[in-house]
Every structure is written in C-alpha cells, then in structure tokens.
C-alpha cells in the first residue's frame, strides 16, 4: 500500500499523513498503551503501581456493585442522548432552514456556551437549582410553592446538567444533515398529500439519520463517562462510571483498577457502537 500511495500521491500529502500518524502515536496511542499495561498491574500498599501482573482488576469488574454503576451510567447516557435528540431536532431544523443571516445568529447562540469553561457553567447550575436559587426564588415569590423544592443533588439535576452540556453536540451535526436535505423534497412530499407531520415523519426525519447517528455518538459516549456533572450537580451521591474512575485514581489511589474500569468503559462504548452500526448497515442494504 505504501508503495502504491507514494506513486500516486504528492509528497506533501504523504508527509502530512506520517506527521499525523506520529502525533497520534505519541499523544493518543502511547498513553492508552500505558493505561492498558497498568490495568494488569497491582496496587501497591500506599497506592503506587506494582508490576505484578494479574487479571484481578478485570475480575473485579464483574462485581454486581460495579454492574449497577455501569447500568446507571448507561441509562443516564441513553436518556441524555434521547432528550438531546428530541430537543435538538426542532432547534436544528429551524437553524438549518432560516435565511443565512439569521443562521449565523442562531449558530452563534448555540456555540456561545463553549466560550465559557464547562466547570464554570456547571457551577452556574448550582446557583439556579439550589434551595435559595433562581428557580426556587421564582416559585416562592409567585406563591406557586410554599416550601423550596430540592432540585440540586438529585438525578434530575444530573440529567439536566448532562443534557445542557451535550445538547450542542447533537444540534451541530443535525444542522449539517438537515441542510443537505433539499427543500424540494419537502415540497414534493407536501405536493404528494403529506401533511406537515407526515412530511417530517417520512421524509425529513429518515433523511436526518446521519445527523442523529453522529450527534448520538457525540452525546452518548461523553455522557457515559461524564464525571464533572454527576460530581457537582449530583453531589457525588450516586456513583457513575466517570465518578468511580476519578475516585479510583485520585481518592482510593488504585490506578490498576481505575485503568481496568477505563477499559471496561471503552469496551462497552465500542460494543454499543458496533451493534448500532450493524443494525443500521443491515437496513441500508435491503
């Protein structure tokens, strides 16, 4: 292959390729390899890594307690992805179909949150959700609620934080996908007796699938491993994979087990990715 490519491609392209590969190797693959190695080591008495090779770290993944945490994280990630898709689609549709001038305004609004640190934005939610926060202040002043609602440090707060944090990752690929759908197709559907609802159901939604796929991965994978949001908005009360891994590395100082957990998470994501692709590929072929 190398022989072929050096014949047909210009030198600059080939050197860029090798440079990219080099950086990927140094900054991505090598650290991963280290973590993989550590996942087979043992924890030292005071938290160091001792190179006594063992399967123990992976055996501990089978612990029902770990299973519960994995399952909880999966549920949260799936729900976050779903809600992001439901909220994100109408938003993306509007942005994709408005005039170019308004599109810039909308795109800027979608991206403005990225200009602030994620941690700061998550802390901002504390101000909104806590007992003397914005929401409760509003409800109490209007007399809708006599006691402040406990919103912070609940599953609701975690879900809200995850959806808030990852919504743009769903919206942006969806905008790209919807923009590619010719408005003529919508007109054709409506000319062929489709109501507005039917037009979306049979034409726009199926054709937006590439956007849902890309957005789904971009939301699901990071929310599966999220640790800042469950830690800050959930108060660390319910353990998730992300918070567990963080705890193993920084609190329990069990690096080998933390590494094994990380690979367990990666394996889960890979298996899910494979399953999703296989089902969607099967659909496309027939």
């Amino acid at each position: 292959m190398n022989h072929l490519s050096s014949q047909s491609l210009p030198v600059s392209v080939i050197s860029t390729f090798w440079l990219a590969l080099f950086f990927l190797l140094i900054f991505f693959f090598l650290p991963l390899l280290v973590v993989f190695g550590v996942s087979f080591a043992s924890r030292g008495l005071y938290g160091g890594v001792e190179w006594i090779l063992t399967w123990d770290n992976y055996r501990r993944l089978a612990d029902p307690l770990i299973g519960v945490i994995f399952f909880r994280s999966l549920i949260f990630a799936a729900m976050t992805t779903m809600v992001c898709a439901i909220i994100g689609f109408p938003l993306a549709y509007v942005v994709a179909r408005v005039s170019p001038g308004w599109q810039l305004v909308w795109l800027t609004l979608v991206m403005i949150p990225f200009w602030t640190n994620f941690l700061v934005r998550t802390y901002a939610w504390i101000l909104i959700l806590r007992a003397d926060g914005l929401v409760n202040g509003f409800l109490l002043t209007l007399g809708i609620q006599s006691e402040p609602l406990s919103l912070l440090f609940t599953d609701f707060a975690v879900a809200l934080g995850l959806i808030y944090g990852y919504l743009p990752f769903m919206v942006l690929p969806l905008i790209v996908a919807i923009e590619r759908i010719s408005p003529r197709l919508e007109e054709a559907a409506s000319d062929l007796y489709a109501s507005r609802g039917a037009m979306f159901r049979y034409v726009v939604l199926p054709l937006s699938k590439p956007g849902f796929m890309a957005g789904g991965v971009l939301v699901f994978i990071p929310s599966l491993g999220a640790f800042i949001t469950p830690y800050i908005l959930g108060g660390g009360q319910k353990m998730m994979i992300g918070t567990l891994i963080q705890q193993e590395f920084l609190v329990s100082r069990d690096w080998p087990f933390g590494s094994a957990l990380s690979f367990g998470l990666m394996g889960t994501a890979l298996i899910l990715w494979f399953l999703v692709n296989r089902t969607s590929l099967g659909k496309n072929v027939t």
Binding site: S182, R184, A188, A189, S190, D191, L192, Y193, A194, S195
Partner: protein, 355 residues
C-alpha cells in the same frame, strides 16, 4: 383557471396580472426565458407559493387558501426531487399512502403506473441507482399515480441529454394521451413546447405575451419578443409607409423597399419585419424574379448539421441573419465565407410586427 394573479418576490414582480384558462385534457406549455415567472406561476397553481392577489381555480373551485396537499394537483419537479431513501416502488406509492388508500389498491395502481412509464424490473432500486431518464420516469409516475386533475411539469426534460430528451418528449406525449389529464409544462426550449403542446403561453418579465396553438405562435407571433423567442431571429426595423389589405410596405434607409404580410391593427409607423430561417432563399449571382424581396448579404458562417445547413449572413447594416437550408439543397452549391450574394424571400414569407 387563473384570474389576475400577481406574485412579487421582494421588489421583483414575478407574475404580473396574469389571467389564463387551461382547458381540461390539454397539454399547455409555458414558454419563456429563465426568470420570466413561468416556474412561479406553476408553483402558485401547486400551492407551494401563494399569490399576492387574484384567484386560482381548479375545476371551478377556488383553491387560493388550500395547502399543496389539499389540491388535486401534482408536480414533476425540475430535478425530480425523488426521495433518496425510498425505492422506486415506495416513491411512486408515497402519494397514495399519504391519502390512506387501501394497500391492495395502492399496489395495483403502482403496478399499472410502472407499466405505463416502462419501469418494470426497477421497482426495488433506489433513485441513486437509476439513470437520468429512469429518474424522470419515476418522477412522472409518482405524480400521475394520484390521478391528478392537473399535472404540473417544471422543466421536465431539462436535466436530460439531447438524445434522451427527444425520446422522453415522445414518451411524455404518449403518456399524456393515455391518461388524458391536463398537463401544464414549463419550458425554455421552444422546439419542446412546439412539439408537445396543444397550446403555448409565451411569458416574459412576469407577463403572458401570447397564448395560442403552436401553429399560431410560430406562424403569427404578435410581437417581436415572441417571434424572437420562438426562434425567428431574422429581423430589421423600419417604417410602414403604406398598407393594403393584409400587405404592407416597409421602408428603411439604405434598404430596398420590402413588402410583407401585415397583421390586423398594425398602423402606419415604426415596425419590425421578420423572416423565418427556413424561408430564406439564397441567390448566388443574379437574384431570382419569383421572390419579391431581395437583400444583399455576405456569407459570415456555415454550420453543417447533417440533415440541414445553417448559413449566417451579414447584412449591409451589420445585422446577422440565418438561413436554414435542407441538406439536399445545400450540397448542390458550396458557399465560402466572405462571399457576397443575395438573400431573398417571397412577400407572404415576410411578417411585419409592431415593435
């Protein structure tokens, strides 16, 4: 069907007070250059745009307020707008499915439509796997399967190459005769409009200039714009100095007197004379007596088209005229570029128009 319809896009008046009646079962073409408002007119009938004023009626029912999916009208879009994620079968069945027709009925209708447009064996393909001509047939079938009162076609053959276009023209005419529906077709190809239509409406700048049968439009264009658009490029402007019955005498400086047919209502004064390319006779050497009108000219360009030869001439006033000579005549003489000669035509072959 259309009464005083007006549609503006911002500052531009796309459709300017158009009134038009298309008869049931008719193949009606809207002919005009791009930007003349013909596509806008089609979209108004389909309900994809709504008029600023005026009424649109289909079968005596005013449909102004009806959304596209409530009108008994279907459209063949310019780039076909086939649903890329559906098979040919699903594309064609879409309209009937949306109308909640019984499954058996849908299947039967789709089968018969597929036979009509000759797409058997391609039912399970996706649009991306079809050729341009096949996609065109799917678009036609997808619209026709709903048995619309009016079928709207927006430049249906523009995306096809020359050979395929000629095949599809014949096909389109055959299908129209078989289903006996009203077709309204938008095109900028004059030969296509002339060949397919029962009647043609020539449009320019949002206005309907002339409506008539292909013979009327080609034989008696009412203005120089219509004449030019229908492919009559040979013209000069002069002054009508005398008229007698249906003939008039046109004078122009440095030009010999020309006699031409004259439409009713053309007064003495400035006018335009048109001669069709196929009516130009070429006289090498002495002009022939049997043609009343003669102009000196110089051969400018020769284009060999197989069955015919197109000659371009420069007149003394700098204008370019075209003569179309069938190849059987053409091979008998060979004209060289720069050769001076005379072009001639008979009185009844010239046509005077108000400018």
């Amino acid at each position: 069907m259309l009464q005083n319809v007006v549609k503006t896009h911002g500052q531009v008046v796309a459709v300017d007070h158009i009134s038009l009646r298309v008869e049931s079962g008719e193949f009606f073409s809207l002919l005009g250059p791009s930007g003349s408002g013909k596509t806008t007119l089609l979209r108004l009938v389909a309900g994809l745009d709504s008029p600023d004023s005026g009424t649109i009626a289909i079968q005596k029912r005013i449909v102004n307020a009806d959304p596209p999916h409530a009108r008994p009208v279907n459209m063949v879009f310019q780039q076909y707008a086939l649903f890329p994620h559906m098979t040919v079968r699903e594309n064609i069945a879409f309209g009937l499915k949306m109308q909640r027709k019984a499954r058996l009925e849908v299947e039967r209708a789709v089968e018969s439509m597929v036979a009509l447009v000759r797409l058997e064996g391609k039912m399970e393909r996706f649009p991306g796997q079809l050729s341009g001509g096949e996609q065109q047939r799917v678009a036609l079938a997808r619209a026709l399967v709903n048995r619309p009162v009016v079928l709207l076609l927006d430049e249906p053959l523009a995306a096809l190459d020359q050979q395929l276009r000629q095949e599809m023209q014949i096909e389109l005419k055959r299908v129209q005769q078989e289903v006996n529906a009203t077709f309204i077709c938008v095109t900028h190809q004059q030969d296509e409009a002339l060949m397919l239509s029962d009647r043609i409406g020539v449009m320019n700048n949002g206005r309907l200039l002339q409506v008539g049968t292909p013979q009327e439009i080609y034989g008696k264009p009412i203005s120089s714009t219509v004449a030019r658009f229908i492919g009559l490029s040979n013209s000069f402007s002069g002054v009508v100095t005398r008229r007698e019955k249906d003939l008039c005498w046109i004078e122009k400086e440095h030009f010999p007197l020309v006699v031409a047919r004259c439409p009713e209502g053309l007064d003495l004064g400035p006018a335009m004379v048109m001669v069709r390319p196929e009516d130009i006779h070429i006289a090498v050497g002495q002009p022939q007596r049997k043609y009343e009108n003669t102009l000196p000219a110089v051969v400018h360009h020769v284009a060999f088209h197989g069955h015919e030869v197109l000659y371009q001439f420069r007149l003394e006033n700098g204008a370019t005229w075209t003569a179309r000579v069938s190849n059987a005549d053409a091979h008998t003489r060979s004209l060289s570029i720069g050769q001076p000669l005379h072009i001639q035509w008979a009185t009844h072959e010239g046509y005077a128009l108000s400018d």
